[in-house]
């Protein structure tokens, strides 16, 4: 009875301390110039990609036929609504850079022994790990939301004279939710690999390797079940319509949610167990 009460009291104290710890971690994130440079580069690249694709998207709308299909690629027609809703997640092309942002956020602590001071300030390691993951997740969410907003502006520019309400339907918000789930979970994967290896470089290399395995389709033929477990493959399975997907969209949602929860959890356990170096 007393034991339970003590545990509960400790849990309550931890919960009350969490907002302050998250706030502290957010301050650490936003005061690192590299984080802002990386975020700015990601958003700028998204704008550049979309600017370059804009004429093609206008052409795509011009190819609208009586049966409601547009030409998405030479000789390939798809329902116009699907084609333009997919453009709401154009940032998928640039999203493999988000884990780099996660790695930069996590890596700051390991450069000059900063982590020792952080543990001194927040001695409960579980609390520290949770606060770190939440702050990183929040920052990644905000950058991803900005990417999503950029995509929305470019879609709206194309469809304004045809169906101005398209980017604001329930279906459109579902597409954005899919992208945000992927963006945050892949970003947290970069964060987690960096915490586990205590090295930003390892975090960057690890997530680049994850992206490359998906992009080169190394495993897609040989071991589709393994391929489906990779975050970028899950994003493809969730959002791209193609014949050679390796799993269903539902499977992909579970995989992405698994990455978002398990990767920071493993990082938290490692952070709690190891020397604060």
């Amino acid at each position: 009875m007393t034991a339970t009460r003590t545990t509960r009291a400790r849990t309550m104290r931890t919960m009350r301390a969490l907002p302050a710890a998250v706030h502290a971690e957010l301050i650490k994130i936003v005061t690192v110039p590299g984080v802002w440079i990386c975020a700015a580069v990601i958003v700028a690249l998204d704008v550049l990609v979309l600017t370059q694709q804009y004429p093609r998207n206008v052409e795509m709308l011009a190819s609208l036929a009586a049966d409601g299909t547009v030409e998405v690629a030479p000789g390939e027609r798809r329902p116009s609504t699907d084609a333009f809703l997919f453009l709401l997640v154009s940032a998928l092309q640039i999203a493999p850079l988000l884990p780099v942002l996660g790695a930069l956020i996590a890596g700051q602590e390991f450069r000059t022994g900063q982590i020792g001071l952080s543990v001194l300030a927040v001695p409960r390691r579980g609390l520290l790990a949770a606060a770190k993951a939440l702050a990183a997740g929040l920052f990644l969410f905000l950058v991803a939301a900005l990417l999503s907003a950029v995509d929305t502006v470019f879609v709206q520019l194309v469809v304004a004279d045809w169906e101005p309400g398209l980017p604001f339907t329930g279906e459109a918000f579902l597409w954005r939710a899919r992208f945000l789930l992927f963006a945050v979970s892949f970003g947290l994967a970069g964060f987690a690999i960096t915490v586990i290896t205590r090295s930003t470089l390892a975090g960057v290399i690890g997530t680049v390797a994850l992206t490359m395995v998906t992009m080169t389709q190394l495993l897609a033929r040989v071991a589709p079940a393994v391929d489906a477990l990779l975050p970028y493959s899950a994003a493809r399975n969730l959002m791209v319509s193609a014949d050679d997907l390796t799993a269903s969209p539902g499977h992909a949602v579970l995989v992405l949610a698994g990455w978002a929860l398990l990767a920071p959890a493993v990082a938290g356990v490692v952070l709690a167990r190891r020397d604060a170096r």
């Binding site: 640039i94 780099v100 960057v204 992206t211």
Partner: protein, 242 residues
């Protein structure tokens, strides 16, 4: 007017070579590059394994980015030579010992170039011989060595500019695997001038016909990148706080 006991240029280069030689990262990166080149060369030469792609199976030897990927492990040698001293304030000690910065930079660069030139041969040669077993192609080997040297110089310059080892490697690799594919369809002319794409053209394995350059043009493009990167590094190294 070299006084007796004065520090000669060769002493500086020698000191820098010791630094590179005693860094574990150098040997780790070299081993990774050697192992990856050899394994890929063996797989490409025997055509034992094919890689699945969106349009069927590919011969490994035709996939430029895959065949060139060990070069980025090799580039880490030069990147650590250029950016490794910024960790823990090591560079301040070096500057206290050798205050003339232009001389120091020249010595560091000479050491990095010498290492890149010498180390590229053992890293590349076994894989190249395995891949082209019947008749090794001399011009291909020369192109591959040039790519290793010039990419190393680009990485070296970026490391000094960024004062670290993470940013240059991240920029080089991500520009190749994330940024370039996103623009390959819409801006092929610009993409073909990126370091990775011109390196692919130089070794004769361009990612797409639209981003292919002729060999001399690719060599020139890479040389311009290397010169710009090293030039920027030199200008900043001489003027900036350590």
């Amino acid at each position: 007017m070299t006084a007796r006991g004065a520090i000669r240029m060769t002493d500086l280069v020698h000191a820098e070579l010791i630094k590179i030689r005693t860094l574990p990262a150098t040997w780790l990166a070299l081993s990774a590059a050697f192992a990856a080149h050899t394994v890929l060369g063996l797989l490409a030469g025997t055509d034992a394994v094919r890689v699945g792609g969106p349009d069927g199976l590919h011969q490994i030897g035709r996939l430029g980015t895959l065949m060139l990927s060990p070069a980025y492990a090799f580039v880490a040698v030069a990147v650590f030579a250029g950016g490794g001293e910024y960790r823990g304030g090591q560079l301040r000690v070096t500057l206290a010992a050798m205050p003339r910065r232009t001389r120091l930079f020249a010595a560091k660069l000479a050491a990095a170039v010498a290492v890149a030139l010498l180390a590229a041969i053992p890293a590349v040669l076994p894989g190249h011989l395995l891949q082209h077993a019947p008749e090794p192609a001399g011009d291909r080997l020369a192109a591959l060595l040039a790519v290793h040297l010039l990419l190393s110089l680009i990485g070296y310059g970026l490391a000094v500019v960024a004062r670290g080892v993470v940013a240059p490697l991240a920029v080089l690799v991500l520009a190749a695997v994330v940024v370039a594919p996103a623009f390959r369809g819409t801006l092929p002319g610009l993409v073909s001038l990126l370091p990775h794409e011109s390196a692919l053209s130089l070794i004769g394995l361009p990612a797409a016909p639209a981003t292919a350059l002729t060999r001399p043009a690719a060599l020139l493009t890479l040389a311009v990148w290397a010169t710009a990167s090293v030039g920027a590094a030199w200008a900043l190294f001489v003027r900036r706080d350590s």
